[in-house]
Symmetry: C2
Subunit: 142 residues, 2 copies
Amino acid sequence: MTELDIAEVAQRAGVPASTLRFYEEKGLIASTGRRGLRRQYDPGVLERLALIALGRTAGFSLDEIALMFTPEGEPRIDRRMLTDKAEELDRRIRELGALRDSLRHAAACPAPRHLECPTFRRLLDAAASGGVTTPRRRVPPR
Amino acid sequence: MTELDIAEVAQRAGVPASTLRFYEEKGLIASTGRRGLRRQYDPGVLERLALIALGRTAGFSLDEIALMFTPEGEPRIDRRMLTDKAEELDRRIRELGALRDSLRHAAACPAPRHLECPTFRRLLDAAASGGVTTPRRRVPPR
DNA sequence: TCTTGACCTCAAGTCGACTTGAAGTAGAAC
DNA sequence: GTTCTACTTCAAGTCGACTTGAGGTCAAGA
């Protein structure tokens, strides 16, 4: 018996069972059957969940992730999509880096009030003019 | 007459008027008065809005940002909070960097299927084991 | 056989940051 | 004086990813 019970999948994947049901409803994963009421899963679901988790941290939505699987369940990852996302990450990384540097500067800045610190003001102007972007979408806390 | 009409503030700050009202309701900004029904603002509100935008891109919630102003409206930025956030950004940057590299690798990877690519598998394992973190909170699209 | 407890379904709720819609109002142009 | 229109208020809706709650079911252990 190589099938996994939902509780075991939940435990091994580190997500609540409710999330597994939710993913199934969304078509992201599938159970192989039931034992009584309980969903049973093929161990391969763990890999799939890992793929989903990966996609999420890369900033893909669940709907986008759903498109990364063929109807047969094989991952179908568009290389173009990956490079696009890599570039997006690059931009975000540069932004965050600049922001981090400025935060550190502001923290160490000797100016009595932040508004008098030129570095801080530059940051502010950048933020005001949209030079710093807000991310598209975020994941709620676990 | 140095006061700005809400429409002008909205235009100059690049946010809809509804956002200004919302921020006012949250106590993040204040109007100096009304002309008829219309809110009038001190030009200083633009700086304040920039500060808010900055805080948002750094990942602070509106509630956290509200705490960054004294009841008198002066920015009161805790230097400790800034360094903490800088460190948080640092961690996130490192994660995203690793993710970006892996995405690029996967995109260029000659393995016929991603699941057969060792780099991709390593990424997957990291994601599965929670080695890659999901951000706390995200900002919806504009 | 009976009880237990972990699962089940389905609808509704949550969270953050806003947006949208209906119904009203006032300054300004005509 | 009338109309236009951009504002006003307040409640409700939206979006994504789940979680929660009520009421039900069933395999396994005592």
